[in-house]
Symmetry: C2
Amino acid sequence: MTVGTVAVDSAWLEQVKWDEHGLVPAIAQDATSGMVLMFAWMDRMALAQTAATGQATYFSRSRGKLWRKGEESGHTQRVREIRLDCDNDVVLLKVEQAGGIACHTGRARCFFQKLEGERWVTTEVVLKDLGRIYK
Amino acid sequence: MTVGTVAVDSAWLEQVKWDEHGLVPAIAQDATSGMVLMFAWMDRMALAQTAATGQATYFSRSRGKLWRKGEESGHTQRVREIRLDCDNDVVLLKVEQAGGIACHTGRARCFFQKLEGERWVTTEVVLKDLGRIYK
């Protein structure tokens, strides 16, 4: 079956073990620095579109719809590599992060809180204010 | 409240947004190479124990119990850093991987399948046969 220009019933998509909601976890890693940038979810269409377009596309559980990363912020992710884990139920992307900002808070990555003793400490600066990202 | 020697109601644990099953996704990354090794889940006790012992401990959804990584294989993970994402609902560990093998298949990492065209291709070799890991 083809939806738009994207085939969603290819054998490689069938091999992925989608959970009871039709989703798999997806991890985005910076292709250059190796930094783990963010974590999100993908449905079948998100993964199919990611592969077809080379632009990371996720499924927003809160909004219940596809979400091409950067569609509002401009902080798109060009996909260099798509990997699947040993249980076929987790996806790992290597991406080139546009603007060097993956997090919706304006930071380079979402994992900016580090446990120090018994406190989560913010270790990354805001590179761009939200007012300048979301116009 | 303390279970065994581990406090499970600390403020930093309360700040984590556990899902409806009391879990959060956890990503383990090699502290030296930056390689994303594996993905698993943690409940409150798993994260508390990970922080208290410095050994990565996850929650096995299939077995419904805590699982100290490497308890059977010897491929333990010494935790160098614990991070939390912007939504407080995903954990990232930086670990030293004992034996250089994170995957239960005997490979360095779980993400050993790479999408090439329309095929998942295995890109990593088995470093140790299963018969020699699980005795």
